[in-house]
Symmetry: C2
Subunit: 310 residues, 2 copies
């Protein structure tokens, strides 16, 4: 599907555009664990990498469309603006106001739909056809996957070598891009981490085929995809050694750790890799962990911290 | 008292020891405002700079003593450990457990005293004499002031030129070191920011002499000094143009801004400069702001955010 050179090409394209987020360590975790703080990335998450890589491949001026109420929406909006393309984002009517405002703030047009009564795919397809827009998928796209992999590439270049690379796992874009480049660079093990309540990958890998589950209830709202992507599945089954799961309590514990020890804001979905390491689920050696995003409000953080206070 | 070359010498000494924290900007603040995130500094605050600069000037192996329940304690403990010196920290019996544990975690011995019944100076002086320890003052020391100034020096080198440099103001170590180097590098205005409830500098400057106030009630626990330092006063009155004040509500608003927009954890004392900028108290031009520290617990942050929720 994609190869390491696709990730390298994306890295060359993103050079000077994406932030090269600087690896961080913590005395508590020891020198063996190095974190890649993509919460400090433009638009607040690694999603900017894939969106920019994709949109820059389109003919200049092509408008883009994305379905998302989360980090992908903000990433597409920002990448489109930087590339002089118009962006239309389809969001459910009940999306959090802060997310809608952030997306509009990046210059996108937000179109809402009723997620209980209307079919997102049908609306999106019609809108794209009517307006001549190109759909930017959140993960099941080769350029998006390759762009996402640049986070792992930078981590290995800046702080490698590693015995294992650990990333969050939702649709599989970040994990598949990361595994592609990490395995090429000699990293022995690549580990995906998903929420225990949304273990569609664990179930699919056990079954040997993609399985769909109910939309999971978890605080990790960026990892609520309910089946593996088609393209990402091909890469992950070929290159990834393990998928492990963490509970919402473990996620909050990791967010708290990032807050107090690293002074970094990490959203629930972004903290699952750190949660896996803190709970000894990843094994030994030198470990590189992607903290994939930081888009969580202060009030939401306060609520999570107090619900699960120590 | 100190000159710009003292700050430059401290910078040479700290090179490769202190983190060179990378300046950050925010779309909301615009390109004219650049922030220096010393929350990401070793020990969690800029205080490491002064403590290391001071302790490295002592004869190898000299033990050190500090009075502090806050960032200075952790900074002295870490700097002493790195330099192979023993550190004894005198803390009140009612200091927060997390601060005591963090200090012990850096390898220091913590000696407690009853702040309502015992005299800290007398105990400290006796202990220093008995054990042959050198006292490391939190701000009223030339080497500590010069070390603190390296934060502003790096900010100007990495992101200057600036029309104004803004720093928190408690005892005056950070402001005096910053002003010394900033004025030498052609920065027109240097601004100190103190909590409205603890405006000992504003009162002292109005009176033309150092005034002592009651220990202020403010959430900015690192800025609760109740009179200007003796040495820092000399520098500030000579080089600093303005001291402005911010309320606790404005401080929480700035902490929230840092959390949501910058994905950075900034403690109340560390956020006063940003609060001044957000509230238009600093004037125009290119402005460099030191975010001086990030040592605030997740539960305390949650409490502050919910008490003053938007």
């Amino acid at each position: 599907v994609i190869g390491p050179d696709d990730v390298r090409r994306a890295a060359a394209l993103l050079d000077g555009v994406a932030h090269r987020t600087q690896p961080v360590t913590s005395r508590t975790l020891g020198d063996e664990v190095v974190l890649k703080p993509e919460c400090l990335q433009r638009s607040g998450s690694f999603k900017f990498r894939g969106a920019y890589n994709k949109i820059s491949s389109l003919s200049r001026g092509t408008g883009v469309l994305a379905f998302s109420s989360g980090n992908h929406a903000q990433a597409v909006a920002l990448a489109a603006r930087l590339l002089g393309a118009s962006a239309t984002i389809l969001m459910p009517t009940d999306a959090p106001r802060s997310k809608v405002e952030a997306t509009i703030g990046y210059g996108a047009e937000v179109v809402t739909y009723d997620r209980y009564a209307e079919d997102r795919e049908a609306i999106g397809t019609a809108l794209a056809a009517e307006r001549g827009l190109e759909l930017v998928r959140p993960y099941d796209d080769e350029l998006v996957m390759a762009g996402a992999g640049t986070a792992a590439l930078e981590l290995i270049e800046d702080a490698g070598p590693f015995d294992a690379i650990v990333t969050p796992l939702g649709g599989g874009g970040l994990l598949s891009g990361s595994a592609t480049v990490a395995r090429d660079l000699g990293v022995a093990r690549v580990v995906g981490v998903e929420p225990a309540a949304g273990d569609d990958w664990v179930q699919s890998l056990a079954a040997g085929e993609r399985r769909r589950i109910d939309v999971p209830r978890t605080i990790a709202d960026g990892l609520q995809t309910n089946e593996p992507g088609r393209l990402t599945w091909e890469v992950v089954t070929r290159l990834v050694d393990e998928v492990v799961t963490v509970t919402d309590e473990q996620i909050v514990e990791a967010m708290r750790f990032a807050f107090e020890r690293l002074k970094l804001v990490v959203e629930p979905s972004g903290a699952v890799g750190l949660a896996a390491v803190l709970n000894g689920l990843v094994g030994g050696g030198r470990i590189g962990v992607v903290l994939s995003g930081g888009n969580v409000g202060a009030d939401r953080f306060a609520q999570l911290a107090s619900q699960m206070s120590q």
